[in-house]
């Protein structure tokens, strides 16, 4: 877990610019006072206040607390703009969203307050025409009322449309403003100059204007509500952070806010409490539930010098630990950051919607004009009224906001869903590619297996020796070696309470093993080649060694005074759930290939155990990437999973690189997806989530497109010559609001997706 930070390094960690928000600065003369107060602090290089925003930008290596104190002494309040905790930001966001929601709902009611009665009147057969002077008067009054509603409930559309127009861009505001504006202006022309129009065209559309503004505000309000639910994953991650920490200062334990924990503080955590910051246990022993971060259900035992991670739950014992990462540097804070970033990055499929929306609005404006012209030239009477209705309807129904929502909404849910399962997805592109993987390469050591070899068998060949003596000799000779198998032997002897002793004349013989002298005995420890080289008789033990190799164990011969003493077998145990996870991958039609630098016999034995038929064995580290390229040349979309430094090039080259979170920083940095728990189930989960997300995005794009693509010709009046049907602009407004709603609720449906199908 702690290794995660390697790639998530905060680029802002050493920033020398700080921003403060000033409260209580009422006039421009305060600016000079505040700037002066800040500049008089020795280490401040510069302080510049933006009076309009009430913020001040300070450069220099000074702590925020000092700056705030300086401002407080001259009578203002200040708080840091950058250091606001995620929690606070989230609260603020929720309050802001709530305010916005209430405003939209109010605007909706105002607009529908006029629109609905008018529409009922028109549906009930009430004449919407202007013929008599009385009718002119009444409609003029309603027209002005409608204008007031456009101002109070729809001002944001018109201002937005105008602003973006002057910026040479067009957006959904443009369409709404044009649509409702056209309907209103036409209706006012009818009211003022009814005589200039043919009798049949003297129809007003005030109800359309009011209804559309009301419905679109409703759509936006519902979207705000639904969006709040979508970011649940982030909220849950942020919720993992403890609020306070109990630190030891001046030999006393005090409770302080988590933001105030400093690096190297000694922190006390009692049973049932959350770990507040990242650190290293200095005293005590406990078991910690890390499932909220990794999805791994089993609690993890922690002893002195073990790492603990912020956000995880202390189950049993009371421990003291030294804070090694605090604030925004903790693994949890960085995971939150990474998930946020990934949620906002778009997969390639989303760019389709982008390209469309960039051209869409102007194209729709042109379509509306063309449609109006066609009606004017070829339409039946009243051509002008038909032209206005069709143009208005085209503009309203074509609004591309649902299109713009389609991808980001699903990605937000999908990435969050993956994070809940302990899978960190780097960006939208990785999410999309993962859904298309056809072949998965698994590195053996540390990925399929634990990566920590253990002594499994000791076969005594010479009955003069006890097992204990053999282990003492073996560990004594191996304690000088850095080979991972040697480490396994040393570890298992220490576990049994045996201490290695000193050896002399130690030599490593490359590709064979080692030789040394121990208590005047000549020792040889290594493979069969080493024994043959020194003429050690192996008698019947070769068959035993081969048997061990078939069980995926690595046999090593120990000879004392050139006589075979024992065979010690070492093996790297397979992770308990590797077999099941690999089955899940294969069940998804993915070709699973094992890659290892180990010898063929061991590799084949492991592969057989886990159910993999394709094995690349004895692959040199520098050739791992070549194997990825080899599969890619066969037309496979290749996923590569590894944990070591030597896997990095292959991880980078693969279409999707998966790093085991317990592995090295380099591997994580080269990968697109990080599995926070060691289990390979993360792979199958990642692929399942990405598939579900992609499916969801496609549904969304379809849902959004259908309203636009099918709606536009319908709105332009294509059906009219055949069925005499022309879409009502109000229906178009409702359809538009519904298209956003469809997309948002479909994306929310993804929240109930369960990646684990066992």
């Amino acid at each position: 877990m702690n290794k995660l930070t390697g790639k998530l390094d905060n680029p802002l960690a050493n920033k020398s610019t700080q921003e403060l928000i000033i409260e209580g600065a009422g006039c421009a003369s305060c600016v000079g006072k505040i700037e002066l107060a800040l500049k008089s602090i020795p280490d401040v290089d510069n302080a510049e206040m933006n009076f309009a925003l009430r913020t001040v930008l300070v450069t220099g290596q000074v702590s925020v607390d000092l700056l705030i104190k300086a401002i407080e002494t001259i009578g203002y309040n200040a708080k840091s703009a950058n250091e606001a905790s995620d929690d606070e930001l989230l609260d603020e966001k929720e309050i802001a969203d709530q305010k916005y929601y209430i405003r939209l709902m109010r605007q909706m009611w105002v607009a529908l307050g006029l629109g609905v009665p008018l529409m009922i009147y028109s549906l009930a057969g009430g004449p919407m025409t202007v013929d008599t002077t009385l009718e002119r008067g009444v409609w003029l009054f309603i027209g002005l009322l409608c204008a007031a509603i456009m101002y109070f409930a729809g001002k944001h559309f018109y201002v937005g449309a105008w602003k973006s127009f002057t910026n040479h861009t067009a957006n959904m505001d443009t369409l709404i403003a044009l649509g409702t504006g056209t309907a209103w202006i036409y209706s006012m022309v009818v009211v003022f100059f009814p005589m200039a129009l043919p009798e049949m065209a003297r129809h007003v559309y005030f109800e359309a204007t009011a209804m559309i503004i009301g419905l679109i505000n409703l759509g936006l309000a519902l979207e705000v509500k639904a969006r709040g639910r979508t970011s649940d994953a982030i909220k849950r991650l942020i919720g993992l952070q403890a609020k306070t920490a109990r630190v030891v200062r001046d030999k006393k334990e005090i409770d302080i806010a988590i933001e105030q924990v400093l690096l190297n503080d000694i922190v006390r955590v009692r049973p049932g409490e959350k770990i507040p910051v990242d650190g290293m246990v200095t005293q005590g022993h406990t078991s910690i539930d890390e499932s909220m971060l990794t999805g791994e259900p089993m609690p993890v035992e922690k002893f002195e010098e073990d790492e603990v991670v912020a956000g995880t739950l202390n189950k049993s014992g009371s421990i003291l630990f030294k804070a090694t990462r605090v604030g925004k540097d903790t693994a949890l804070a960085q995971i939150i950051n990474m998930v946020k970033r990934a949620q906002n990055s778009k997969p390639p499929i989303g760019r389709l919607a982008d390209i469309i929306s960039a051209y869409f609005v102007p194209v729709i404006m042109i379509t509306a004009i063309v449609s109006a012209l066609v009606w004017l030239n070829f339409g039946p009477d009243p051509a002008l009224a038909f032209a206005v209705v069709s143009a208005t309807t085209v503009l309203i129904i074509a609004c591309p906001c649902a299109l713009g929502l389609a991808t980001p909404m699903s990605v937000m849910v999908g990435v969050g869903k993956a994070a809940e399962a302990g899978v960190l997805i780097r960006n939208g592109e990785a999410l999309q590619t993962a859904s298309k993987i056809t072949a998965m390469i698994l590195d053996k050591t540390g990925t399929i297996t634990e990566g920590a070899p253990k002594v499994t068998d000791i076969v005594i060949a010479d009955n003069n020796y006890t097992e204990e003596y053999i282990l003492t000799v073996a560990s004594s000779i191996e304690s000088g070696s850095e080979h991972p198998l040697a480490q396994a032997i040393v570890d298992s002897t220490i576990e049994k309470g045996i201490d290695p002793e000193n050896v002399t004349d130690f030599h490593a013989i490359a590709g064979h093993g080692v030789e040394a002298v121990f208590n005047d005995h000549k020792l040889l420890f290594g493979n069969q080649k080493l024994m043959l080289k020194y003429g050690v008789a192996l008698n019947g033990f070769v068959a035993q060694a081969q048997q061990l190799a078939k069980e995926a164990k690595t046999p090593m011969y120990l000879a004392i005074d050139k006589k075979l003493a024992a065979i010690i077998a070492v093996s790297d145990p397979i992770k308990s759930d590797s077999i099941e996870a690999i089955k899940r991958l294969q069940a998804n039609g993915i070709r699973v290939v094992m890659l290892t630098g180990d010898n063929r016999a061991t590799a084949n034995a492991v592969a057989k155990k886990v159910g993999i038929t394709e094995v690349f064995a004895e692959v040199l580290p520098e050739d791992k990437a070549n194997k990825v390229a080899e599969l890619q040349a066969q037309g496979e979309i290749v996923g590569m999973t590894g944990d070591g430094i030597n896997d990095a090039p292959a991880l980078a080259l693969a279409n999707v690189g998966f790093a085991i979170g317990t592995g090295t920083d380099v591997a994580i940095e080269s990968a697109d997806i990080t599995l926070m728990r060691g289990s390979l189930h993360g792979l199958a989960d990642a692929i399942a989530v990405s598939k579900a997300t992609l499916r969801n995005i496609k549904q969304n794009l379809f849902g959004a497109f259908i309203y636009n693509v099918a709606g536009v010709p319908f709105a332009a009046g294509v059906l009219y010559p055949f069925f005499g049907l022309l879409l009502n602009p109000v229906i178009a407004g409702a359809a538009m609001a519904f298209s956003s709603l469809t997309v948002v609720s479909n994306a929310n449906r993804l929240r109930f997706f369960k990646p684990q199908d066992h």
């Binding site: 916005y100 602003k163 973006s164």
Partner: protein, 118 residues
């Protein structure tokens, strides 16, 4: 009728020119003045910003629009995306970039802007 048709065609030509063919040339230079980009009413203001190539840049955003879309700004080319709190100045740090034009936008691309790196 002829005149109306001509007006319609002229409008179409105008739309094409205004939204697609028109190339804005003026950009605000961030090295000369400190810029705060105001996010409101569907536009970033200013929306064309000149920044120095190969150097870290800090941009300040100030969001006034409550709509959820405006709440996030994305710089897709450098994989930066930041939440913009409502009515609070927010600084966004960008890594050094080689010269060229880089778009930035909100998730729905309702708000769009361009960084001119030179």
């Amino acid at each position: 009728m002829m005149i109306i048709n001509l007006i319609g065609l002229a409008l179409i030509a105008l739309i094409v020119w205004w939204f697609w063919l028109y190339k804005p040339e003026k950009a605000v230079d961030s090295s000369i003045e400190s810029i705060t980009i105001v996010v409101n009413n569907g536009v970033y203001q200013p929306s064309r910003i000149k920044v120095a190539a190969g150097k870290k840049t800090t941009l300040h955003f100030f969001r006034k629009d409550g709509s959820p879309c405006a709440a996030t700004v994305i710089f897709p080319n450098v994989e930066v995306s930041e939440e913009l709190p409502l009515e609070i100045n927010k600084s966004v740090e960008l890594p050094p970039m080689p010269s060229g034009e880089y778009p930035f936008h909100c998730p729905m691309k309702m708000y769009t802007g361009t960084l001119i790196v030179e």
